[in-house]
Symmetry: D2
Subunit: 366 residues, 4 copies
Amino acid sequence: MSFNTFGRVFRFTTWGESHGPALGATVDGVPPGVPLDEGFIQAFLDRRRPGTSKHTTQRREPDQVRILSGVFEGVTTGTPIQLMIENTDQRSKDYGDIATSFRPGHADITYHLKYGVRDYRGGGRSSARETAARVAAGAVAQAVLGALVPDLRIIGYMVQMGAMRLDRSRLDLSAVDGNPFFLPDTGAVQAWSDYLDGIRKDQNSVGAALEVLVQGCPPGLGAPVYAKLDTDLAAAMMSINAVKAVEIGEGMASAGLTGVDNADEIRMGPDGPEFLSNHAGGILGGISTGQDIVVRFAIKPTSSITTPRRSINARGEEIDVITKGRHDPCVGIRAVPVAEAMAACVILDHLLMDRAQTGGVRGQIG
Amino acid sequence: MSFNTFGRVFRFTTWGESHGPALGATVDGVPPGVPLDEGFIQAFLDRRRPGTSKHTTQRREPDQVRILSGVFEGVTTGTPIQLMIENTDQRSKDYGDIATSFRPGHADITYHLKYGVRDYRGGGRSSARETAARVAAGAVAQAVLGALVPDLRIIGYMVQMGAMRLDRSRLDLSAVDGNPFFLPDTGAVQAWSDYLDGIRKDQNSVGAALEVLVQGCPPGLGAPVYAKLDTDLAAAMMSINAVKAVEIGEGMASAGLTGVDNADEIRMGPDGPEFLSNHAGGILGGISTGQDIVVRFAIKPTSSITTPRRSINARGEEIDVITKGRHDPCVGIRAVPVAEAMAACVILDHLLMDRAQTGGVRGQIG
Amino acid sequence: MSFNTFGRVFRFTTWGESHGPALGATVDGVPPGVPLDEGFIQAFLDRRRPGTSKHTTQRREPDQVRILSGVFEGVTTGTPIQLMIENTDQRSKDYGDIATSFRPGHADITYHLKYGVRDYRGGGRSSARETAARVAAGAVAQAVLGALVPDLRIIGYMVQMGAMRLDRSRLDLSAVDGNPFFLPDTGAVQAWSDYLDGIRKDQNSVGAALEVLVQGCPPGLGAPVYAKLDTDLAAAMMSINAVKAVEIGEGMASAGLTGVDNADEIRMGPDGPEFLSNHAGGILGGISTGQDIVVRFAIKPTSSITTPRRSINARGEEIDVITKGRHDPCVGIRAVPVAEAMAACVILDHLLMDRAQTGGVRGQIG
Amino acid sequence: MSFNTFGRVFRFTTWGESHGPALGATVDGVPPGVPLDEGFIQAFLDRRRPGTSKHTTQRREPDQVRILSGVFEGVTTGTPIQLMIENTDQRSKDYGDIATSFRPGHADITYHLKYGVRDYRGGGRSSARETAARVAAGAVAQAVLGALVPDLRIIGYMVQMGAMRLDRSRLDLSAVDGNPFFLPDTGAVQAWSDYLDGIRKDQNSVGAALEVLVQGCPPGLGAPVYAKLDTDLAAAMMSINAVKAVEIGEGMASAGLTGVDNADEIRMGPDGPEFLSNHAGGILGGISTGQDIVVRFAIKPTSSITTPRRSINARGEEIDVITKGRHDPCVGIRAVPVAEAMAACVILDHLLMDRAQTGGVRGQIG
């Protein structure tokens, strides 16, 4: 049973609160002999770091990761890897009101109901800061995938932010890292930026939709029924703060399709089977086909806003809540590296599980 | 690690292939002393049974469940409950071509790639017949929920079938069991029926979207981060055959909302906190609020259709595939009782987990 | 969490009560493509079957196993294997008194306290009949081990029965299958037989100690700390009914040894490292060395005896308990195939886990 | 799957190597609202700390624990508790030879074979230092047990050290904390001390046997078959470094007993059932009876000794190994607090599991 653990063979447990002394991830099941150092992990954390543009919270967190165990002389040893990030910018006085009041749309009230106690500073365990630990764990997964499946590539990007939607005819993956929105369309960046400025000036926040693409995933990963690759990807994405929906391939649009349209027909290519379309998003019967895996998900708008909202406090008094402090007007932006990390963990986990059950041997065609 | 097991405390493992001698579910973690008999479970299976209208496969399966263990003198004993359904209508000669060919959009090719061998008769393990075992396990969960949370009610219904969509202004939950579509709008049944007739006559199939409502769920179920209630509901639904997307509350539409609009404001009612809206779908920070839980998901169209589609076979030859046999033109219809069953299992599992960690005690307000 | 499941990758869940309609094992994580049929499993069950000599219970159970899933055209498919054994000889009227009274030394009272209800017929879930399901699961493990590690051999035998002890200078493994005691010393069989006749005539029962030897186990199986190979072997043996102690290698005698005596010195042999002794029992730091693995365990005497013992019943009345019915005077005898089965499951599980983490690659020496 | 995790509901994962920057335990599943601070945990660590008498290694480690998460304003929050102990005394130059040579009886060779790489400094992950993390996790368990079952008490002590054995007629539990051997017989301390001095002067080491007593354990903890309370206790003890055997109650001696002698007869006492003896060690059918739980285990002698032993190195050369550095002549001594910690974790885990399944309700007698 695992309240705070993700994965089966490649497993990580995140720990830590937003304003405690530190947070991190305990990563187990890592194959031995994989080159790994703090610099490699740090590069992934830096992509997620707040305070890098006006569009994310101005909390300044260096988010420096330390490897406390499981790596020796530059390679993994197969023992648990402890990754720790110390919290340095803990201006907790900003959060005074939150101790007794419940922000609408926030975990404040459910944590209070369930546990009777909570670390209210900065959202405690429910803070998006927990995702820094995921990114660190995902970097370990990326290092192992780099050693085992060098051609595999995981790319996340935004496809919607409130009223703004990606024009798919202009999709350019090479543009993703060149703008603060992880947007695969350089020409649209200014419009997205102006739109988000307006949201922030209105003391509001806005939702987002993201897509993660896994290129070069070998076929045969996953398992029927309850360890489906898409089941685990859905759980991975849904476990990220504020995510309210997950789609694979056609996603919700599948409901409107016919079987004739939805069939991904197959022909023989020079290197084996080739699919003529990818409505399935790279997964059939819970198992990867070898095509690109396509996962999409929606993140609700930040619940911490400076526009007053009606609520109650722990004494049962009716109040108006305004959340001061430094909050992202669109938390979805910083979820891109988190989603990539989660995808990396799921793919690696299934790769290792597949080695356990089949030895990685594939059925032959032709 | 669990390839074919679902749940943490209340756990079930399904087993069996479509055309083997039997299939079933091994259910563990059941509290002792709960009244249970085969008739109670059978009622749930009968809702899912094929052959009950012209809109579902004409395979006639009585789907008679037997309890082989874990129940003594009419009550559960706390030991594993083995539920077995014998396969009686196994006209496997219908499926001859499938032994060597891969249906587009079907698990045929990925099972072949992963395992090198598969029970091709009727889809084997990938058949929707596996979901009968889920319904049986879900009936056990319903029995336990009935004993522990008598007011809890789980209702599934269709909200879309291809081009047909539920008009939410006409939603009437009392209509669900009175038509073959589990449609909460009696007035629309004829139109849906005509539409599906057309699809079938076109040798085609069609996707669907379903919604599951959990009424009367106590607050405090779930856990932060990786055992979120919505994470587990998403995994549960995504594990059902052909599901391609899962939404909680606003779902994908969250991406288009602002924080002001999305905030579920709170006031004090006579019995405690009352939410003025339910964009969240009854779950905040992974933990139930006490509001209705709202889960929606999409099922792709049946891949087994009689319109020829291009494909290959195991020898690498390019072929046209026509799937004869008896297939549902819309598998989504029969997924309604399956989704209810999965929701029951998730809710019960979290109820038992919560007893473990908090003893079921809730934090006080007021 | 697993109340009734054993293993991590190769997992089985046993189900069923002594006098219910059937019992069995749900086996998951089995590699695909391994030849398997009912006859292969039956051979293992036949070794365990009661009623084969005057020294075991005269209950006649054919213990016919059926494979209900996971095997197709003579090979495993990688999906769950359901193994069912129907109960045919259920003379439950023999057990009438037990419904309300608690046999001293038996699980009657603890089941009653924990669950408030129990299937009292034949011990229900606590019956040694549950071990038939283990033997069936173990046979599946043996089939897989036979495919993956053909030289591996698992041999169980008795080393003590009450006052009778194996003379190790006469140990002859080829003798084990030629006598009803699984005794590796043909010359001692008559004395053991006479001794047990005396015990039975005295309306008494007697304990036993067994040893399991794993020959040909590859090095590198196991893991540090909580998935040690010896940890899992200890759990496996301790989970067998009536087992009260488990030893690896020197076992309890280690407490009396010095470091100089206990060191298994190492030299280089023609094929790699060679150990000059095996105090460790083939496991160092939780990981197999490649030497013989040696596990020993003790089974307490059958608690069901016909000599009256003081006890109470569920009404709190003080009574004398005499257990009629057909009981083994030494349950330890029939535990030999059970222990072999559990050892096979543990070794296979670790072999598959090792494939997951290291790919089965070994560090080089020389 | 859990290489480095112990427990089901109350779970901890230990991490860290002997000479890395830090080690610790990630503890999950802790009930909320339990008072806990570093001082409480430190007291348990101080009992285990080396360097406190001439009989343990002279490595001076303050072993200061820090709570990094999961505790807020002096109480647990129900989120993961990260416990970190920094390594301060890392004189790794002492261990130079070990980098390439394999100590007989040590995990050096099996780690090398399995992983191809290892942190050889101070034994790395196989070091007994890992047990400091267990003691810290066990302290958390003790805090929770103190809140839930105030009368429960866990007491560990030595019963054998090489040739020295506890005279049970002189057993005095109040003596345990008054001498460096955790020996429940003050009068024997001098003899044990002289004996161990002799061992050390002989450049030798010696094994030990320990016993752990759980007083006040409620009945009904445990589960049939694979989550037996004794199964988990056996796994817990066997997972401790150098442990080679575990006994419950009569242990290996059960093999020599008859059913008449072994029966723990039952009478009614003023508060319910009373057992007239405790051959079973407090556990029947895997479930606690309410009597004292008695667990005993043997620890082999330290393999790191200064007497030369024959071995090989990683190049396959035959060498003599002498282990310099600071090693305990009897590692068993410091295992006493470790065994208490493991017992506390097992008992708490089962207490929480039992709340999940039965709600903690007990069957009635009388």
